[in-house]
Subunit: 107 residues, 2 copies
DNA sequence: TCTTTAAATCAAGATATATTGATATGTTTA
DNA sequence: TAAACATATCAATATATCTTGATTTAAAGA
């Protein structure tokens, strides 16, 4: 029950659904590029990423001070069904703003 | 997005997960039997049933003053996957206490 | 080692959701 | 039509979650 409710709680927020859709669309992305793309303040984004990670949806790859998040694979059945549902939602996704490649992550 | 989040929000509560499992296990049940089975105060149960119904998980059949709730069929893909997941959770379900058949719903 | 940078965590306030007890609605029966 | 009953809704409080800004951690480079 705990694990199921944790997955559901993670899905129960529009911001996190957008993040899942974003990562599903653009693939592995570093935190600062997500910050720039979503124009979201760092602590807020970080918190949502943690919740999604702790609920088993995301994987983090750390390189130095940078953190690259991606959809965890494989997802179990329920989580991948949720993702499939999210994939078909009519959402306006922000463009991928890869500031990391140009000016670095000075935000 | 709205509809998806409404489904997810409905699932995001242990009591409601129990109710879904209960109705999936025992089939259509009247409110007062659920009250008796869960030993739950009436307004609380009624609220949770409404949330599940409004989220598309339940169907209500009214006969006079009585209301019989059941899992709505057919469920769409995401909702039925959620139900399938709930079906496999390790839950201690209360026994079905059919007070409606013996003393009526005097609670 | 000191500074800079990226990310995570913390604390406070704002917002949303759950619970309870009281009241309202609507149907049946006396 | 009045009373009893099953269920729904409301109002107040309690609890949980989200947002923000500040602080902390940890890695890299000067």
């Amino acid at each position: 029950m705990e694990v199921f409710l944790k997955s559901v709680a993670a899905l129960n927020d529009e911001t996190r659904v957008l993040i899942l859709r974003f990562l599903d669309t653009y693939g592995q992305t570093c935190v600062c590029d997500m910050q720039a793309s979503f124009e979201m303040i760092q602590s807020r984004l970080s918190r949502h990423l943690k919740i999604l990670k702790d609920a088993g949806f995301l994987w983090v790859d750390r390189k130095g001070t940078w953190a690259y998040y991606s959809i965890r694979k494989p997802l179990d059945r329920f989580r991948s069904e949720a993702l499939e549902e999210i994939r078909h939602l009519d959402i306006v996704l922000p463009a991928l703003n890869k500031i990391s490649q140009t000016q670095g992550c000075k935000l």
